[in-house]
Structures are given as structure tokens and as C-alpha cells.
Symmetry: D2
Subunit: 345 residues, 4 copies
């Protein structure tokens, strides 16, 4: 089969690989029909993710059809159309039982990281019963690719952790794909304001089309000042960090109102300054989270009910044998205006 | 009347002052029968609290008897025995209506800070209806002095924010009065373990007597290592910071388990390093809070029901004209083993 | 001034009455510019509300202008445009401090019940600081009349108590004004389905226009069967009772799914059969509530942000001297298709 | 092997049966070392549980040693000491993923009901990975038998659903084993008062020994009146129904304070009168629940930490070949003062 293989920092190739086989009775082999590329894949290609070793097939998102199910799999059978979660969950360990699938003792984010992933014709998915989801009759497969990772990430790490509620004022720092996913899912809770902050003009235009009520084209102190002005000095109830660099976290510290929440989504490579000398008495909460995908069933229902249109995030479409072009378009988002690129088998 | 007056960094004096008068219809004048000294009073005396100007009568804790009630006061009348909350709350503003009395638009922590306080024979208490509490029949006044500030602070900022629950593993960094108040109130929720961390041997002995299950006599990396060992590498569900310096916050970052909470109580004068490069995917929460005293009615009930004995915290007793000695004993806690010192009229 | 006065079961009259005066320092006198009629007013006129004695001016909803503020009122002054809450709240008692204004020791639902109400040119509002709300600049007064009672009632008793959440299936039994208020505010939480149940065809048409996803024109067993069919035998996550008779509560018992909630809004005059022999192991919750109006600030923000259009509920408009016609139109809703009737000064 | 077999209403026998075999790859066969009898077993013997057919081995509680593990079982192996949960949970279905194991699509309460149970030398446990729990080193097996059903039932259905909290006033109607289990676990949350209500003097004596603060030896109206007197007319924050008959539910309706909760534990065979004409405006919640055993890990920790002593509930001990005597003692509790009887292999 064709597969996109990581060969160490800066190197990747589309190669022929054998179709994966069941290794564990709880595995399934899924024939991928649609996959996509995540910002994290670019991190891997920069060499930032040491758990991902050269030789690994990349990708942790996708939908497809069950090709073969292991003997212990009871919820799926060959031929079932499925959504592949970016998080593998055994359903049995302490963390899975608490709904923290991200910290599953034998799962978590392993696809396209510790084991071969979804940017291929086939993928082996461990813990299939509790890591795959049936695709509802009539659902749009392309749309559902957005439910493997980006929508639950924006929703769980940003919106739920950020306690977005009706009438609230929300700011999202970073209008890339993940910030936009938070923007789309924040609207489930009818906040009064969603202020998007990004230096990129095009992304802010997209954000307005996706439901932002205000935008701030700036970063750093200028962004903070603009938000404080827009909120008449009050600050925001929820500040969502969707970049992953110290400066945008500091913006969140600067703009969060007393009693508010900073919900971090970004993948951080460096420590940040936490200004407790200003925040110790502000009654705030700061949350971090690797997506658990515990809300996938809920999100499937909202997509089916047309409460959200995940396809808004899809800007480019490729075939699997064009995946190098897809990477190119996705990694040059500033020029291509790419958000999510869908790769069909 | 006698009053302890702040005269700028390093200076204080017991002086004669006029008995305060009602300024606003919602005020009450309370004759103080028992007050105490808070670590924050020492901060003021170091010059760390710019809102507190020279000439101010210190003190934000106490119980007493209503001497006079303003014309708009309906819940209290002269002669009523009352607990004075360290937080003044108007009960009307947005923050008070949300239960965040600490951020009351015209109140918050003002006693012994922005206005004259309780280390005197009399004090003027603004917003009396919503900042005083009736002392239940038969209650011990000395015990209730601990409900002005220290117990609600340990409970709200440490225990409630830290989401302590049955069977949980809790660590408290700092076994001073405020850490011990968190220790006492954490036991409302039957955690499996409460690990107290402090370099001071005597304080840890006190902690064991107060219900700690384990102690770590160390600070910094050594403390973190010891806690990780005690928890078999798992870390703690709740880490309570009860010191207010960067090193103890870092300990909390080091020992919090995935899914856990760091509840900050300490008053910080400096920023701390937040290691998001390690914590971004750990699904943790960090909380800060100035006590709201919103749990004072609940705490009064637990004291009345003998679920907690606040007098455990009282180590020394003085009369108001010995208050300079009381400050001396309290500020030299390492030698005197002082926790809370009660000052009677 | 003109006022609509209750004269015992079946009797009411528009009469001349003296303008009310401040009785307590916390009172305000409000000149009413817009008021409305509530289903509860009809209950009073049937003699069902013994606390409301003959001679009482009816009405507990309205907006207006502060005419005079008592000496203890600090948040409002003459000339301020205000929303009058149907619930008077002292802000000081145990229940007010817990956010249960409905059970305020000296307030609760007293307007147009235990004291004179708002269907008049002027009204005396006790506890003005904590029972009136400033009308935001540019807000539509007619729209805000819906925030005195009907919208917080639908929202708090139906939607919040019913724990409506994204992707959920909600059924509302009763498509009268209060059921429609629940329908409008349920959409803050993006449920997948909102099934409206009512025997009246016109009301269901209105419901579809207001955002219902499905309707059931039936009552009793037929309604339950239809809902179970629509939900493929699963039942609903939230069943909201918005009528106040045993049959509609039974419908809720029949259709609630395991783990679901029955949120009662209706005012009941009779006991109902609770089928614990079927429900004891279904893990359900049943809630009751008199509106607390604790969400009024939140609702004001959602109206200002155009997340909801309260004017959808207004079908008829009258002047105060036509109030008997207004009562006539409102009480014959089946013919007039009246939802809420607004009465302007 | 020896097994206690149900032979239709009123009939049971200790018989020889073949040792069960693995039927499904997720099964385990457990050699039972200790089991017990539940009130529900007596219900079955009265013919009240139609899902339990003649020929069934009874019992849904017990601890033991894994004799054989099916090929899909990964968390347990032969020789492991285990606690058997009364609820079988697949860990995969919608309800299991939501923590509602009681409604597991292929599990729930099936042991000793729809399939053979634990009152035998061996039992087949379906979904072993997610329905058994490892027994911690050094734990007392007899004590842990109380964690199969009675303690999680009292805790989840009574204490958690009842939202018991520090300083609260709790009433428990029924001081039988399940009411006492609620009493023991309610103390995790430091309520101010726990009032036990039962007509049986001996049970109330036991209750006082177990931590009740007050008792009411009465039923019906007399019980309600006594509780209202004890609470100075205020009523209770949490009323726990632990009997399962209409009269005790009515007592709960009579004594619940505004804002309070009625948490039903009892198994009801008849409908009850719900006095909505009195309760519609009281802001109460009523909950029902079949135990999910989702708190078993938490309870294991509290037992290990000695926060609770489950052995308090054990009054009688028998060997398996004396199980008919054990049933006799348990079913004549009024004379024998039996609470829980432990049956050793």
C-alpha cells in the first residue's frame, strides 16, 4: 500500500508498505478513505516529537471502512464505515474509566506517533471497540474527518475547559485551524462576544465568516490593549490560547477578567512566565489538556443535527498520491490560505 | 480607644484614636472582643502592600459586639454578637451576585488595608448586612476568630478550588497557619492521603497532630522527589500552594498528577515559571483566588457541629495592650512556634 | 394613577389609585412604561392564589423609569431606566446569598401577589438595589418586558434545571408562552432535537418558527408514544413540563431516557402519580423551581448580543387604559393566538 | 460445585452444579471466597423479580480468586484476587462510556438475576476487565464484600445523588443495611447532622454507633413532624429514601427544605404520590438510580485509607454449606439484628 513515511527531521516520502496486520485481538485494520494533515505532523517533521521515530507512517486523523476486525472486537465488523479517533483508548484503565482517554495506559496519542498512522491506504487501530466510531447513515465522510482531532480538540481543550456560557465574552488567541475549531464549537453555548486575535488579516476574515463578533489584528501587548479596550477595561471571561508560544499565553494572562478562565490548547515547547504577582488574587483558572475525544459522540450528534458545519474548515482536497503537494499547501498556509486539507484514497 | 497603627515600612504603634463613627447608612460600628494577626499584616509592615497607607489601623479579623448600626442595616442591631469577615461585600454588584465577594466593586479586602481595621477597640464595618455574621448561641468566640479569614481562605482557595474528594491524594506545600487551615478543612472530604511539605520539623509535627497522613521535611527538588516516591511515581490529585514563593509553586508543578489541580493560596510577589512544555498535555487546572468568604455560613455550621476545631490553630493569647508582644511572637514563629495569636480586648 | 385591581375570584377593574410612596429605605417607586399579563394573573383571577387578596393591584412584570429611590438605594436614582424583576430579592438572607432569590425571606414573588404590582402607572419595588436591573443603552424596552419573568422562568426552571446540552434530545410538553420561552432559551445550548408537544396546531406552527425541530400534536399516551417513536424507543435526555397538569407530567415520566431529567416549570394544583416502580432504577432527576431570576444579567447580555429575540413572543399590544381588552385577548389565546400581550403606559 | 439455586417463589436449595465455563472471550471464572446476601435476593425469592428465572444461582456480591480468564481479558489472570462488582459493564457502549454502567447494553445487574450468580463456589463474570477489581495488597476480603453492592449503592444513589456537603442536614429514612451504608458514606462529606428515621429501636442504636447525630423512632406523619421539629421548621438539605415504600418517600417530600434533594435508593413496587401542588415552587430535585459502581475505585481507596470501616456492617458469618441458615438469619433481621451476613467458601 501507499503510505507517507517520516524519515527524520525534514524528511518524508510516499512509499510502498505492506498492509498492516492484526497484532492484538482488540485491533482493527481500517481502509482509509479520507485523511488529513495536522499541525502536529509538521512538528514531527521539525524533529520536535522524539516519541515519533524515523520509519513511522504519519497521520492520526481519518475515516474509512473496517477491513478486518480482531477476535476480541465486538462493536465493529468488516465493512463498517468508521471514524478513527486520534486518541486510542482501552476503555479499561483508570484514566479511561475517568474519561481521560488521552492518558490511557496503553493508548493515548499513539497513531502516527508511536505506531504507524492514517496517512496510508490502511491503518491498524488498537483498542478498536473504544477508539473507532460508527459513521451515521447519510453522514458526509469529509466532514467527519474533522472529528478525528481538530473539532474535539477545539471543543474539549478550549470551549469546555474554558467554561464558555451564554452571554459570556470569549477571546481566542490564534485564528489557525485549531483556533477556528474553538470558534465554531464555542457557538454551541451562545456567548455574547467571540473576539479572534491574530496578526494575519486573511485568517481574521475567515473568522468573521465563521461567527467571530470582533477581531484584533495584532499580537503581544498591542493585542492585549485592544482586547481591554473592546471590553471596556473588564477583560474576557474565557481566553483560549490556540498558538503554543509564550507570547500568546501572556496575552491570555493580560486579558482574563477576575473569575475568568485561560484554556490552553497550544502545544508548547517552552516555559512561560506566569505572573502570579498579578494573578494570585484574581480568582482565575488555567487549564491544560490533551484532547480526550470523550465528546466525539456528542459532536457526531451536533454534526448530524447541522448545528455545526465541519466542512467550513476544509480548503483544499488532494488524492493520496498527491500527499506531498498536500503537505506543501498545508505548511505554506500563509500563502495558500489552507486550513484543513483533505486527502482522499 | 486603643488601636494598632501602621506608620510605614517597619513601623507600628499602639495609639489612642477616636472611636469610629457611622459614615454610610449601611455601616456598623463593632466593638471588638477578639482579634488576631495575619501573615498579610506582616506583609504590610514590610511595605509590600501599597494600598495600605501610613496612619491606617491594621487588622481584618475579629469578633465582637455591634455598638451601633447604620440606618440602612436591617440584619443587625446594637448588642448583637458578630463575626467580622475579612472581606466586605455589598451584596449588590455583579461580583457579589456571582459569589465573588473578594472582587466587590465597593468592598473586597479593605479592612486594615484601605480603611481602618480590627486591631482596635472598635471598627467601622461597611456593608454590615452582608459582611458580618451572627454568632450562634453558645459558640466559642475565640474559635470563631479563625473564621474571619484563615479557615475560609484555606478552604475556598485550597480545598474547594483544589477539588479535594474522598480517596484522593492531596499535598500541601507549606505547613504555616494557612497550610494548616487547608489541612483541617481538607478533611471535610475524606481524602486518602494528605502529605504536608515544609522544611520546619516542628510544623510537620503539628501537621501530623492535625491529621496529615505523611510529611516531607524538605523544599525544592528534594520535596518533589520525596512526594513522587511516596505516590509511587503517580503524583498527587491536588497540590495546594500555601507559601507564596516561586519554589513552592514549582514543587506543585512537579508533583501534580495528570488530571490533577494546583490550587494556589499563597500571596506572590514575583512571577513563576510555568512549565507548559511539560504541562500542556497533562490535563491539569491551576487556580488562584482571593478568599470570597462565601463559605462562612457553611463553616459556621461545621464548627457548631464540631466537625472541625478551629482552636487548634491558636497557640498564644494576649490582651490588646500587649499587641506589640503579640506581633513579636507571631513574627518569630520559628522560635515561638506561634500559629495564630488571639488578642482579647 | 390608573391600576388594574383584583376584586376576588372572577372580578377585576381598572381604577384610580394613589401613586405609591416609599415605605422602606430600600424601596424604589418605578413609573411603568410597559407591562404584560402572565398566566399566573389568570390563576389569581380564578381564585387559585390565596396569598393574593382582593384590593391588590396585579402584575409582576414590567420596565419603566425610576421615579423615586429610597434613602438606602445606592445602585439606582430617579430617571434610571429599569427592568423590574418578578422576584424581589433582599440580597442578604440565606436564600439570596445562595442564589435562591425565589425564597428570599422578605421577598420572592410578592409583586402583584402579596403587595401591589406593575399593572399600573407606578409601582413600589422593595429591595430595589437587588430587584431592579439597569436597561442597557439602546435596548428595546418591549423586548425586555420578556425578561421580567417568562424568559428567566423558561431558562432557569426548564433549560438550566433540565441540563440541556449540545447534541441532546429535548422535549417540551406545552407550547404556550412558557413552553416557547423554554424553546427559545434551550437553543443557547445547541441541542440536536427540540420536540414540542401540544394539542394545538397553531402553537406548534409557532414552535416550528421559533426553532423546534419536530412537533407532536397530541396529549397523554398518544403524545408519549409519538415521542418514543421519534426517538427510536430511546426517549429524551430532557423532558420539560410546561403546562402544570398531571397528564403532562406523566408524559414526561413516560418519555425520559435513562440518565435523563424531567424539569418541571408548570404551576401544579394537584398531586401527580410518580411511577417509582418504573423509574427507581432509571437514574433520572426530577426538578422543580420557582424562578430565581438569578440569570437576568446573563439573559440581558444574550439579548444585547442578539442571541435571542424576545419580541418573537409578543403578539398583541395595548395601552394601559385598554388593559381589560388585553386580559380578554390573553385569556382567549386559543382564538386570538395570543402569546404575550404588551401594555404600554 | 455447591450453589444456592432459586426454584421459583419461596423455594431455594443448596445444590451441586457444574463449575461454570468461559462462554465469551471477555469472561472470567472466579472462585468465590466470600459472598453475602442482599435484600434484593429476598425480593427474588418473593417472586418480585421476573427477570430471574427458576434454576438460577443467586447472588451478585463477592470476592474471590480468578480461576480462569477468557482470551480477550487483559487486566486479570488466573490467581488474581478480585472484587466482583454487582454490575457488569462492557466499558464500550454509550451508557458505559457515560459512566452509567447500570444501563450497560449487555451488562448491568445480570449476576444472580439474568445469569448465574455468586452464591456458589465459582461464578462466570462477563466483561471481566471492566467488572472486576484487583484487591489491594493487605486488604481484608470480608470488608471488601461490602464494596460489591451495598456501599456503592448507599454512596452513589444516596450520598452523591443527594449532594451531601459539609455543614448540611441529612435525613435517612430507613436504618436497614442500605440506609446504614448511606450513613457511613455520608460522613465522607462532614454534614452537620445525619438524622436516622426508623421504627426499629435496635437499628437506631446501631445508627448512633455508626455516626448518626440524631434519631427519630417513628414512621409516616409522626416521623415528618419530628424531623421538622428537630430542624426548627426548616427541613433537611438531603432526604435519602432507603426503604422502597410509598410512605417513606412521602416522608422525604414532607421534610425536604427548599433547594434540597430527595435521593431515592429504595426498590419500589408501587407508584407514589408526588405532591407537586406543594413542591412545584420549592426548587427541589428528586433523583433515582440503580447503582453504577462507578465509584468502586474511589471506595477502595477510602477503605484502604481507613476513612471507613465496611466491616461494621457485618453481623453474622457462615460457611457456604450453611447458606440456608444465613438466609434465615438475614430474612429475620428484626429478631437476629442481622445487617450483612458473610458467607465464606
Amino acid at each position: 500500500m501507499k503510505a507517507l513515511v517520516y524519515h527524520g527531521p525534514g524528511n518524508k516520502a510516499l512509499e510502498d508498505r505492506p498492509i498492516p496486520k492484526i497484532k492484538d485481538a482488540a485491533d482493527a485494520i481500517v481502509r482509509i478513505t479520507h485523511t488529513t494533515i495536522c499541525g502536529t505532523d509538521l512538528h514531527i517533521l521539525k524533529g520536535d516529537v522524539p516519541t515519533c521515530e524515523p520509519g513511522r507512517i504519519l497521520g492520526h486523523e481519518g475515516v474509512g471502512v473496517v477491513h478486518e476486525a480482531g477476535s476480541a472486537v465486538t462493536a465493529f465488523k468488516a465493512g463498517d464505515r468508521v471514524l478513527v479517533s486520534c486518541i486510542s483508548s482501552c476503555g479499561k484503565c483508570e484514566y479511561c474509566r475517568r474519561g481521560m482517554y488521552s492518558h490511557c495506559a496503553t493508548g493515548g496519542w499513539i497513531l502516527g506517533n508511536r505506531i504507524d498512522g492514517t496517512q496510508a491506504e490502511y491503518v491498524r487501530t488498537p483498542h478498536a471497540d473504544t477508539s473507532l466510531y460508527h459513521i451515521p447513515e447519510g453522514a458526509d465522510e469529509e466532514a467527519l474527518v474533522m472529528l478525528s482531532d481538530i473539532l474535539p480538540t477545539g471543543f474539549e481543550c478550549g470551549v469546555l475547559n474554558g467554561k464558555v456560557e451564554p452571554g459570556a465574552v470569549v477571546a481566542i488567541v490564534g485564528a489557525g485551524p485549531i483556533g477556528l475549531a474553538a470558534l465554531l464549537t464555542a457557538q454551541f453555548y451562545a456567548p455574547a462576544e467571540i473576539i479572534m486575535i491574530d496578526p494575519d488579516e486573511n485568517r481574521l476574515k475567515v473568522a468573521m465568516r465563521f461567527g467571530a463578533t470582533k477581531t484584533v489584528q495584532a499580537a503581544g501587548d498591542k493585542a492585549s490593549e485592544a482586547v481591554m479596550k473592546l471590553t471596556h477595561g473588564r477583560g474576557v471571561d474565557t481566553a483560549i490560547e490556540a498558538v503554543g508560544v509564550p507570547a500568546s499565553f501572556i496575552t491570555c494572562e493580560d486579558i482574563v477578567a477576575p473569575g475568568g478562565t485561560i484554556a490552553n490548547i497550544g502545544v508548547h515547547g517552552h516555559k512561560v512566565d506566569l505572573h502570579l504577582e498579578k494573578l494570585w488574587d484574581r480568582n482565575i483558572a488555567i487549564t491544560t489538556r490533551l484532547v480526550d475525544t470523550v465528546t466525539t459522540p456528542m459532536l457526531l450528534k451536533t454534526v448530524q443535527a447541522k448545528k455545526i458545519d465541519p466542512k467550513l474548515l476544509i480548503t483544499h482536497r488532494f488524492k493520496l498520491d498527491q500527499i506531498l503537494e498536500a503537505y506543501d499547501a498545508f505548511s505554506k498556509a500563509a500563502q495558500t490560505h489552507a486550513l484543513k486539507v483533505v486527502i482522499a484514497a
